[in-house]
Amino acid sequence: MTVESVVFYLFATLTLVGAIGVITMRNAVQAVLCLVLTFFSAAVLWMLLEAEFLAVTLVLVYVGAVMVLFLFVVMMLDVDYASLKAGYTKYLPLGIITALALFGGIYWVIRSEVFGVEQMPEPAKHGADYSNVTELGRLLYTDYFFAFEVAGVILLVAIVAAISLTFRGRRDRRGQSVPMQHQASKEERLRVVSMESGPRQDGQEKTEKKKRIRRKKGGGS
């Protein structure tokens, strides 16, 4: 038992526990948190394979950004769990078929004849001066440059499409325009009214009375 194997078994267990938690948790928020745990432990396993860059990127992108949005959506949803369970028996056969098909497909790809211990060579250990980041960067920007650029363009198109699909904000909304707020001047907001000062000559008694009444009511001067 080396330190590495202890870390491997610990985080492999956590990955499985998290994955089982995702599908068994009754509360959707807890299920999302289990998925976060799964991603995080998977990242640690990648780290053991000396794929530091991918591992940290997995945490940064999936745990740090994608799952936060997931959590947001799930938290904001007002889910009625009883109504979710309503069609359980009706959809059960379809669910079983889907699950079997998915399981079969995955099994066919990673079955032991293809991905078994005998078929896959042990990953080569590299020295301390080996940098996974440098190697990845060199591959991406030389051999796979075209594919890399195409992937970038596709992502850009996806961003533009997603924004144009979801943005249908009202054009007449009353949002605050900061430049207009900055340009606001004293002249348009403030009106200085000049009042004549000093006691009034006519009807002095009357104003005195008014003042007294105001004082009784507890209003200012």
Partner: protein
């Protein structure tokens, strides 16, 4: 088997050597903050517990430890108690890759910078879960504000760090500092000045500090996401916030102000005189300045309005970083000295 146990103990001891001073620093940062803000507002600040109030943070810690942890009714108990731990763990874990001097780091990782970004982005879970599990309106509103603020400013922060990456040509924090070798004018604060400002302001916003402390805007939502927390669970949130402040200060120093490097490097006489000062002292001194700046900001500025925060992040910071990255590309390709000499192709 024995080797493994020794390994674990050695790593544990190293972690302790980083975390214990950090926790002590956090305690005395709270004291410094109360004292500095006190003097700025013409008050004395804490001065009763111990000589000149030096024992105030210790008294605060003991008080918080003795208090009862109240779990509100209708809350999700497990998640409620998990949230402070999720908040504090990444802010401690990020210290693993910080180099304190030449070859003095717990992990000398080639993805150090990305790791820091990843760790700071995980901290948001603590905030979201704290707000949700509390089963309280104010807490939920505060956590929503905090989460959207952290996510927004993380983008600007990440882009600012892309500039650091381009300038230094490495994601290893030690290499980034070594790339700034050669004295005050060789540090990256000059070619990356706009990115420095953006990184610093985003850092203040990420740590939910004033003037960006809307998540705990006490005039609107009491105390934001940690309104339901008491005792030690509240102390953990507090601890994490201050640990993050120190982290951001140290990172700014590493990325833009030459980390452990002597600022008088290259000046004939002064360099020899100050040569005996260890690198870690310079690092802490520079970081201390930024920590002071954060406290100064809090004493000076009123709180931002929420839509202004979002506008600043998305409409000002992100475009500026993108433009500056382009300018930086030309600077590097033209080999502008003294930072990029030898890397030019024009």
């Amino acid at each position: 088997m024995l080797d493994m146990i020794i390994d674990f103990f050695v790593i544990g001891a190293k972690i302790g050597l980083i975390l214990l001073p950090l926790i002590l620093a956090v305690a005395y940062t709270t004291y410094a903050e109360r004292k500095i803000i006190g003097y700025m507002q013409m008050r004395l600040g804490p001065n009763r517990v111990g000589p000149k109030g030096w024992l105030q943070p210790i008294a605060d810690v003991i008080k918080l430890l003795m208090k009862e942890v109240v779990v509100p009714s209708g809350s999700n108990k497990a998640l409620f108690l998990l949230a402070p731990i999720l908040f504090i763990a990444p802010s401690f874990a990020a210290w693993a890759v910080i180099p304190f001097d030449v070859e003095l780091a717990l992990a000398n990782s080639d993805v150090g910078l990305l790791y820091i970004l990843a760790m700071t982005s995980i901290a948001v879970y603590g905030v979201i879960i704290a707000g949700w599990a509390s089963n309280s309106k104010y807490a939920l509103l505060g956590s929503l504000r905090s989460a959207s603020q952290i996510i927004s400013y993380e983008i600007a922060m990440g882009f600012a760090l892309v500039g650091v990456l381009m300038a230094s040509g490495s994601m290893n924090l030690g290499e980034i500092v070594k790339a700034q070798d050669g004295g005050l004018l060789h540090w990256f604060w000059i070619p990356l000045l706009p990115l420095l400002v953006i990184y610093w302001v985003s850092g203040v916003a990420e740590t939910n500090r004033a003037p960006f402390d809307l998540p705990e805007g006490e005039s609107e939502i009491v105390a934001g996401f940690h309104v339901e927390y008491a005792g030690i669970s509240f102390a953990l949130f507090f601890l994490a916030e201050y640990a993050n402040m120190i982290l951001i200060s140290v990172l700014t120093t590493l990325f833009f102000f030459g980390g452990w490097l002597n600022p008088f490097q290259g000046i004939p006489f002064v360099e020899e005189v100050t040569g005996w000062i260890p690198g870690i002292a310079w690092l802490l001194l520079k970081a201390g300045f930024f920590l002071f700046l954060m406290i100064w900001l809090r004493a000076t500025f009123p709180r931002y309005r929420y839509d202004q925060i979002m506008r600043l992040g998305w409409k000002v910071f992100i475009p500026v970083t993108v433009v500056w990255l382009m300018i930086l590309t030309f600077m590097i390709k033209a080999g502008v000295g003294p930072w990029f000499t030898g890397r030019g192709v024009l």
